[in-house]
Amino acid sequence: MPTDPTLAALLLEHEIRQFYFVEADLLDERRFAEWLDLLTDDVRYFAPIARNIRRGEEASELTREGFDAAWFDEGKVTLRQRVEQLATGIHWAEEPQSRTSHLVTNIRVLEALPEVAAAVEVRVRSRFLVYRNRLADETDILVGKRSDTLVRVDAGWKLARREIQLDQSVLLAKNLTLFF
């Protein structure tokens, strides 16, 4: 373990960055079953709906986890069902399969527990730009923010919680067959 705190921070950030890049590759190479292995069994996957509200009322800008409607508010059981559905080959919304590219950027480690040099849990904020092209001209560009909690397990990091803030109030895509 490095004793220089700057070096420790760089190494941690590098590890997290690599985790995200591997994750993006798994998704864009449609290796969804392997992607599931990057999630803890009790993972929380939540994407609130955004509202247009008056300045000063930001508390109601996003729908609430555990109470309101959302784009996603689920755990591994449902995520696994989604992956199984994609694998059937007759999930028509993804047959033929769409082409996607996940660009993950602005990665910041906000908190490392118990400490940077020996972190077993980190809170990370990032941005995503997901490009999807389907059949010929059906194209979606979905952009937003992610707030993640990653935990260290023997072999590396796993995603324990992900909150996805899509920067749209009316979703300008016909479906969300993709993962963020």
Binding site: I49, I53, R54, D68, A69, W71, E74, Q81, T88, L176
Partner: protein, 448 residues
């Protein structure tokens, strides 16, 4: 009747799904005089609460006045058109236009009638006190109806009563809006409305939800996986046999059970959640007691003409297919639960709804793929010369005992679609209300 709709023979020109002129005419002939669902009272619980909603292409503000009444106003400044409210929800006493500052009052302390103009910058100095402020309040809809928490509006003050519009379909809507224990109303909307766009004509959505068991095959992938709240295969728990039941002359219909006078045995439907299962089992007992031998129906899915669809069972939701151009629709989904249900019950329902419906819904996703590319493949000049086929079960409709004005056509038919397009053609060809409403609906029900 209408040159493009031959509902008698079950063929309908593809033009009505892609043609911009027909679409423009629909806005006038259908959306400017139909009862349209604009929201749920639980979304505007307190005085001054409002949501912005839609009626056809138009934005409206749905507000609760200080005296508790519900008002629906065109969201467009009477001065020179600016959208006065660009928030999705909030609480206010005034809507002030950002353009030149005209301000409209909502609460009764400021105005006699919500929407009245209460503030005009430069009224004395520049208008010389001569503007007729009472004449330039926000435009109200012609009629409003509140029904078991749902809010409906109609631009046409001469439109028939909402309950006449609903006719016998009311029993099926009741099933979705009533408490699971059989007591009236008392469902509420879960906070947050899913809104999304897709490239299809609004009628493709309405005609699917009016009862299309035939397309079950398109959902085979989710059925193989199984997402129902009891585990096992299928996308919902087993249902008792359903019929296509429709209302000729009104344009509504759905999949449901015909009226019966006793409650069938309890069928477990939430086995994965013991606490929830126990709750529903208990409600079933209450329901048996509450309803006694009164007639009742059940339903899974239905459409109220023109563009409000709802699911009464698993899941339990309201869907609006707002027209957004000849080949674009903005979908709004609201999810319903019993207001007094324990949190665990609401939570299990919510999780199930979200994996079933909406853009991330493992069922609805495949519908939207089909609707989108059916629309795209119907646009070309050659494709447009053709007609869609709605001939299933043609000539096999029969009356429904105990449900005046209704017909049923077995589990799989395109009777309801023919009924829907017949109604559509009536609206598109007849300007006035004369002959548009069957005298049957409520009159028959009252006589029953």
């Amino acid at each position: 009747m209408h040159p493009l709709v031959d509902a008698e023979n079950g063929t309908i020109s593809r033009e009505i799904f892609v043609n911009p002129d027909i679409y423009a005419e629909e806005q006038e002939r259908i959306f400017a005089r139909s009862w349209l669902f604009v929201g749920h009272e639980s979304l505007i619980a307190k005085p001054g609460d409002y949501i912005t909603s839609r009626m056809g292409e138009e934005s409206v503000v749905v507000t609760r006045g200080r005296q508790g009444g519900v008002h629906v106003l065109l969201n467009s400044c009477m001065h020179r058109g600016m959208k006065v409210c660009r928030y999705d929800q909030g609480n206010t006493r005034l809507f002030t236009c950002p353009y030149h500052g005209w301000s409209y009052g909502i609460d009764g302390k400021l105005v006699e009638r919500p929407g009245q103009l209460v503030g005009v910058p430069g009224f004395e100095q520049h208008y010389h006190g001569e503007l007729d402020r009472t004449a330039w309040g926000l435009r109200h809809v012609g009629r409003i109806a509140l029904y078991k928490g749902t809010i409906w509006a109609n631009w046409d003050a001469d439109a028939p009563d909402f309950l006449d519009w609903l006719g016998g379909m009311r029993a099926f809507l009741d099933f979705a809006l009533d408490h699971r224990d059989g007591s009236e109303g008392s469902s509420e909307a879960i906070g947050g409305i899913q809104k999304w766009r897709l490239n299809t004509n609004w009628k493709i959505v309405a005609e699917n939800f009016i009862g299309d068991l035939y397309h079950d095959i398109s959902h085979r992938s989710v059925d193989l996986v199984g997402i129902g709240p009891s585990g096992g295969k299928g996308r919902r728990d087993a249902q008792r046999p359903r019929m296509q039941i429709g209302f000729p002359g009104l344009g509504h219909g759905g999949l449901g059970e015909t009226p019966h006078n006793s409650e069938p045995d309890y069928a477990p439907a939430w086995a994965l959640y013991p606490e929830v299962e126990a709750y529903y089992r208990e409600l079933h007992e209450k329901r048996v007691r509450n309803l006694g031998d009164r007639p009742r129906v059940t339903m899974s899915v239905g459409t109220i003409f023109p563009n409000m669809s709802f699911h009464g069972r698993q899941p339990r939701t309201i869907l609006m297919a707002h027209p957004c151009g000849p080949t674009q629709t903005e979908m709004w989904r609201i999810y319903l639960v019993d207001a007094d249900a324990p949190e665990a019950v609401k939570d299990a329902a919510r999780h199930y709804y979200l994996r079933y419906s909406g853009p991330a819904g493992m069922t609805e996703q495949d519908d939207m793929e089909n609707w989108t590319y059916a629309t795209e493949a119907s646009k070309g000049v050659i494709a447009r010369r053709l007609h869609y086929n709605y001939q299933m079960g043609l000539g096999h409709a029969r009356p429904v005992p105990g449900l005046p004005g209704a017909v049923q056509n077995g589990p799989m038919a395109e009777e309801n679609q023919r009924i829907f397009y017949n109604r559509w053609a009536q609206f598109m060809t007849q300007a006035g209300w004369d002959g548009l409403m069957p005298t049957t609906a409520r009159a028959l029900e009252d006589a029953d």
